[in-house]
Subunit: 107 residues, 2 copies
DNA sequence: TAGTAATATATATAGATTTTAATATTTATA
DNA sequence: TATAAATATTAAAATCTATATATATTACTA
């Protein structure tokens, strides 16, 4: 694999490496939303939401469509949700492993 | 989803958000390797490889097993490779989309 | 066989760069 | 003018990368 592609992949994962951005993507999983809707769900300043949306937009992960003064956001590729699910599975495996290890230690 | 889990997920993706670490994981996909083997493939200082391995180790993504003075590394969960494949697919979709858009603009 | 060198890996340190998150300002539309 | 969203700015925190140092194991050798 060429070195450039590795950098692109790394950039992609970097876009996902922030709790606010993960939260946004999970909210969008339940349906497209306006910025102010995201802001209300997350309970943070709308400028902060806009900042994080800009990062996801620049990486082509979400799409914003204007509707008057509002902007409706959606996730561009549904495969992203599959990716998040696999991440969760990996996470669960790792957690199970840790729990098992602690149990073994107490035997 | 609890806020903590979002942070954990973000941490996980952060571990993947570096070109050297992506390279390491792709090399390990072809089979477990010693640090010096990784270092030779990557053509960088072994201290740099160790640093990056430490990050992957701390996030429970890889496992290092001592064998004399050497340490053999492997990926803990094969699901990780599935995750990388899906990332690649998302990436291809995005690229196709961009190409299509450029073509449309030239019509 | 004790002492020392060589090898493999890990950790520590530090300066440069990047990211974060909060606030302020700007733009666009109703 | 009021509202919705985006962008700019900034200080603090985190990350990166290179280099230096430390540790642990094996090999050598006097």
């Amino acid at each position: 694999m060429p070195q450039e592609l590795q950098s692109f992949k790394a950039e992609f994962f970097k876009a996902l490496s922030n709790p606010l951005r993960i939260r946004i993507l999970e909210l969008l999983r339940d349906g497209d939303k306006y910025v102010h809707e995201l802001q209300e769900h997350m309970g943070i300043d709308s400028a902060v939401v806009s900042q994080q949306l800009a990062i996801l937009r620049n990486r082509n992960i979400v799409l914003g469509v204007k509707d008057g003064t509002k902007v409706m956001y959606s996730v561009r590729d549904p495969l992203l949700f599959e990716l998040l699910d696999i991440a969760k599975q990996i996470f669960n495996h790792s957690l199970n492993h840790t729990i098992q290890m602690l149990q073994d230690m107490n035997q």
